[in-house]
């Protein structure tokens, strides 16, 4: 019996390499636990049959001494990454039966290192949402519950299947994507580590596109060391993505735990005015003190345009989405609804195939790009985007990292915010500026609030300085109080 709850990516790699258990034994434990966790609705598709074959091959490679870096380690993949021969739905009815003929660069790179695909994880439809409730296949449920509360909570979104699965120990690593906070916010809600790399660090090729100038793939894991290890194998130049950066991949694992003595941590003064829960404010102050104790210098920085990040985002992201999602027309792939003529076929397919949040965003995007409004909305938002970016450029002349909370609140209940789009959007107030500026940021579990729910601290670094996130992140990881709750109420 392998204790999956206390296992993480690094410990599993070591145990497999030291032959403490086999890839098949490990896989069977995960399959068993996933089967007992169906209440959480985290998987859209499982891949157990193929996985068993792959695990046998991994075991042979390990015996022959030919193990690759991630040999035999099971992984969960957000259902936005195309996987050859395995259904990829983006949690949308319109792609309900889509089976890609090709593999995304990220999943291919992980496969090439010997990772084994457990299955495809739920997300908000086309990654549009902050609660994983907009999935066409029903909401994903967080493994967390508040102390003395029976309320089912959201695992965050859009990568709620990924965060939930790692938090519930259904996989040691899940891939995810982040357009406005979709890796970091779910990580904060579930007590996991979520990394959004620099725009261009990880290839977007083969990932279902939402807003192409903001989308970036990254890992959700249990620890910082796991995150560093995962990024090492996910990052890198890809000629198939025209925005992929041709910059060397550092040995991120080496940065974990390095001293930060004498380095600088920036605190954005404008963020102190934001409407944050009291526990979150206090936790943020605590974290700043942890850095002081480690010998870092705390510096106040100014990000005056950050308050315009959410409105700019809700022009730019829907505009790009309305263009990207034009391809779902019921002709070349995906669900088709009938119509008397071609126009009706398109309209019926898209009207019935997309859910309400996706339709709303396509309509907003269409509106802000339409004749007469392009300059007033889209161009204006792009100009504000540059000002937001410039604020960060100035701040990083003074500091190594910037520290903020990841979210203004801890996890909320299923159904609580769904009817109020603006309230739902405000979840991303602390994460969205990072995407507009293309910066790397990480959410690290930083304690529990008074209800016993996880909180997250966000660290932001300059472009391609992911190493600093791992270096500084270690301080939060070792200074916080314990975050293991987990009554495992969902296990059947």
């Amino acid at each position: 019996m392998i204790d999956l709850v206390s296992s993480d990516l690094v410990s599993i790699r070591n145990s497999l390499q030291n032959k403490e258990f086999t890839a098949i034994e490990l896989l069977n434990e995960y399959i068993d636990r996933i089967a007992k966790s169906s209440k959480l609705n985290l998987f859209n598709t499982t891949n157990f049959e193929n996985a068993l074959k792959a695990a046998q091959e991994s075991d042979q490679k390990i015996i022959r001494g030919e193990a690759r870096s991630l040999e035999g380690i099971p992984i969960g993949v957000k259902d936005l990454f195309c996987t050859a021969g395995i259904k990829t739905t983006a949690s949308s009815k319109i792609l309900e039966n889509f089976v890609p003929a090709y593999e995304s660069t990220i999943t291919q790179k992980l496969k090439d290192q010997g990772m084994i695909l457990l299955g495809k994880l739920s997300n908000d439809e086309f990654a549009m949402g902050s609660s994983n409730e907009t999935s066409s296949f029903g909401p994903a449920v967080s493994p967390w519950k508040g102390d003395s509360s029976d309320k089912e909570l959201v695992p965050g979104g859009s990568s709620g299947g990924s965060s939930g699965a790692v938090a519930a120990s259904l996989c040691p690593l899940a891939t995810a994507t982040d357009t406005g906070g979709s890796i970091r916010q779910p990580a904060a809600f579930t007590g996991t580590v979520g990394l959004k790399p620099t725009y261009g660090r990880c290839s977007r090729w083969g990932i279902v596109a939402f807003a192409s100038s903001l989308d970036q793939a990254g890992p959700i894991t249990k620890t910082i060391a796991d995150s560093a290890m995962a990024l090492k194998y996910m990052a890198g130049y890809d000629e198939k993505d025209s925005t992929s950066a041709d910059i060397d991949v550092e040995d991120y694992e080496q940065a974990v735990g390095q001293s930060i003595k004498g380095m600088t941590v920036g605190v954005p003064k404008e963020y102190e005015e934001l409407d944050l829960e009291d526990d979150i404010k206090k936790n943020w102050q605590d974290a700043i003190n942890w850095y002081k104790l480690e010998g870092a210098e705390i510096v106040s920085v100014s990000l005056p345009h950050s308050k315009y990040a959410l409105p700019a985002y809700y022009i730019i992201a829907p505009a790009e989405a309305s263009s990207n999602l034009a391809r779902y027309d019921g002709v070349k792939y995906g669900t088709r609804m009938t119509g008397d003529n071609l126009d009706d076929l398109y309209k019926n397919t898209r009207g019935l195939g997309f859910g309400p949040e996706v339709k709303r965003r396509i309509l907003i995007g269409t509106y802000v790009l339409s004749a007469g409004y392009y300059d007033a909305y889209y161009l204006k938002a792009q100009k504000v985007r540059r000002l937001i970016h410039s604020d960060f450029v100035e701040a990083f002349k003074k500091v190594d990292v910037i520290i903020t909370p990841t979210t203004p609140t801890t996890a909320f209940g299923i159904g609580e915010n769904l009817s109020d789009p603006l309230k739902m959007y405000s979840n991303d107030i602390l994460t969205v500026p990072v995407n507009l500026a293309g910066l790397p940021a990480i959410s690290i579990p930083s304690g529990l609030d008074s209800q016993g729910l996880p909180m997250g601290i966000q660290l932001i670094a300059n472009h391609f300085n992911e190493g600093k996130l791992f270096q500084f992140g270690t301080v939060v990881e070792k200074s916080r109080s314990s975050i293991t709750n987990q009554s495992e109420w969902w296990l059947e």
């Binding site: 315009y308 019921g330 907003i364 509106y367 300059d375 909305y377 985007r385 000002l387 293309g438």
Partner: protein, 102 residues
């Protein structure tokens, strides 16, 4: 430009017009809800009008260099069956749609 934005209100007709542009059928009962939701979102994003963006260049992505170019060469191909494998209706290597020309 600013005054034009302020004059603009989203009506049911606006919703019908943009849903036609976006090729999305919207049921009559959905139009009213979308009108109110999209109106409030558009009013909210108009906070951007407070920002002075005179002489600011628009930023379309965060990359510093120009997009990479490559030679215009065929690098892939002969994947007809792969491409058609997800097609809802096809016939002899063609996607099939309702008749377009009367």
């Amino acid at each position: 430009m600013v005054s034009k934005v302020n004059q603009m209100t989203i009506t049911k007709d606006t919703i019908r017009k943009i849903s036609n542009l976006a090729k999305i059928s919207i049921a009559d009962q959905e139009v009213e809800k979308l009108e109110s939701e999209i109106s409030s979102i558009i009013r909210w994003v108009e906070a951007l009008n407070e920002v002075d963006t005179e002489n600011v260049d628009p930023m379309s992505n965060s990359l510093t260099g120009a997009l990479r170019m490559r030679e215009d060469l065929v690098t892939d191909g002969n994947k007809v069956s792969d491409i058609l494998s997800n097609s809802p209706v096809d016939d002899e290597n063609f996607f099939v749609v309702p008749k377009v020309i009367e």
